[in-house]
Amino acid sequence: MKILVCITHVPDTTSKITFTDNNTKFNTQNVQFIIGPYDEYALARAVELRDAQAGSSITVLHVGTAESENTIRKALAIGADDAIRIDAEPLDAMFVATQISAIAKQNKYDLILMGRESIDFNGNMVHGLVAEMLQIPVISPIMKLDITGNIATMHKEIEGGKEVIECQMPLVAGCQEPIAEWKIPNMRGIMSAKSKPYQVIAPVETQNVALTLSYDLPVAKSGCKMIDASTPEKLFELLKNEAKVL
């Protein structure tokens, strides 16, 4: 089985987000970058599936600049067999999806795993776009994924519950916990990551891209109004008459 795992390179979940250059550039100073948490679930499940079926392989794919190098190496250390980086700024979901589907068309993967969403753009879009471009099914977000022969059985989150879905491969899936436990790279993984195949490829041309003009931050809250614990019911009065939300 050939598995493709698409990963993002995103600020750690605790990062404070700021911008520079007159609010046109993300400020990377003091920001720790990580593999997107959902993407890491996808990768972790891919490693388990690969190890369970002889002759399987995992390619990790990232659309981004050379700044993402360490993130890709980490994915190799966790267990991917080889990596591809499309050397381009990930402009928007459509751009990224076009790049991913161009690679997928060449290499015919059985399973394309992604995160449920990226935590920078939060588009929840790339998997759907890729699947449509490749004319194959997409299931997202999934919390369980098992393969028997050519059939994937998945638990998909729906609003207020879940669905069990069976689908023939190839397919695209967006993963979330508890699909697998995150894998911590061991020493051997870290060492071997340095020598695993790693290709850098130029992007294909695309249209229909939405370009970011500028950024801004939400207005800060004015402060928290405290209500005495001996009269909690006063809260409702404030919610009704002051905040006008009741």
């Binding site: 928007d92 909690p232 809260l235």
Partner: protein, 315 residues
């Protein structure tokens, strides 16, 4: 033409879809264009006609129980093309996100998710979207003629009128059965977390699943949905789909109650689009108080029953 996608849940229009209708109507007005809506699913026509309250004069209704996003996308794309839609607007949801992506490819459009404002058409076409899990916004420009937008909930305030839409039914056979849904488990009757006006969430401060009736009782009294923090669902005190935050459900209710939740940044990332945040915590230094609008320093076991009792006078 501006096409709005109206989502149906349990026979009724979902709240976010009312916002989508309002946005489509206002955008159409601004651009001297017309607005149309499409609803796919099982609902009463008289209920659907109420979309007119939000500025939509015609709704195309496809009466079917298809639940596969690809098939729904085919219908939407066909209707968009037939009616020459320049922009299709979707509400944010698991299902609508998937449909939107598929439609964007089918009609050859640019796509922007998590839109939080009516597009700016003064100079070209630009939209504001939420990024970094609600920690920032980006203004993006779309140059393409065709656009697909996904609206984040609670971003647009609605001003309902008493107008009624005319509902036209539409039929088309679409059956590509490339996947099989073998089982559906859905909690019936509960208020959807993602659609709720009020959410009451509990954290590790509640000490155990046996105390959840305290959360549920307040929720019931307020007509609210219940949520929880990640450790709570990790420990199986509550089902996974109730966990709110960066790696869980993102909610945007009018009021979010965080009871016994410390206010870790990953939790706040899932609630920062709520209108009002209320924190109840024994620890006056809990980070949640820095993000909250209202706070009570106190013991959940003491405060929750009192609030539940008092809530009855306000609902």
């Amino acid at each position: 033409m501006i096409l709005s996608y109206i989502e149906i849940a349990d026979g009724d229009i979902k709240k976010t879809s009312l916002e989508v209708a309002q946005m489509a109507a206002e955008l159409a007005k601004k651009m001297g264009d017309s607005a149309l809506a499409i609803a796919i699913g099982k609902a009463d026509v008289t209920k659907l006609a109420l979309i007119g309250n939000y500025g939509i004069s015609t709704l195309i209704y496809v009466d079917t129980d298809v639940s596969i996003s690809k098939n729904i996308a085919t219908l939407v794309a066909n209707i968009a093309t037939k009616n020459n839609a320049s922009t299709v607007i979707f509400p944010k949801s698991i299902m609508a996100d998937a449909v939107a992506a598929s439609v964007a490819i089918k009609i050859d459009a640019a796509i922007v998710n998590n839109v939080v404002e009516i597009p700016d058409t003064a100079n070209g076409f630009s939209v504001k979207r939420s990024i970094y899990t609600g920690k920032a916004f980006a203004k993006v420009e779309i140059k393409q003629a065709k656009k697909v937008l996904v609206l984040r909930k609670n971003a647009i305030s609605t001003q309902p009128t008493s107008d009624i839409a005319s509902v036209e039914t539409y039929k088309e056979d679409i059956s590509t059965n490339h996947l099989k849904i073998t089982e559906t488990n859905k909690t019936k009757g509960d208020i959807l977390l993602t659609d709720a006006e009020i959410v009451v969430s509990g954290g590790r401060g509640l000490k155990g699943p046996e105390n959840w009736h305290l959360i549920e009782n307040l929720a019931k009294a307020l007509g609210a949905a219940t949520g929880c923090s990640k450790p709570v669902s990790d420990m199986d005190w509550r089902p996974h789909h109730e966990h709110v935050g960066q790696t869980g459900v993102k909610v945007a209710p009018n009021i979010y109650f965080a009871v016994g939740i410390s206010g870790a940044i990953q939790h706040l990332a899932g609630v920062n689009s709520s209108k009002i945040l209320v924190a109840i915590n024994t620890d006056p230094e809990a980070p949640f108080f820095k993000a909250a609008d209202y706070g009570i320093v106190g013991d959940a076991f003491d405060i929750l029953p009192k609030l539940t009792l008092a809530a009855k006078n306000y609902r």
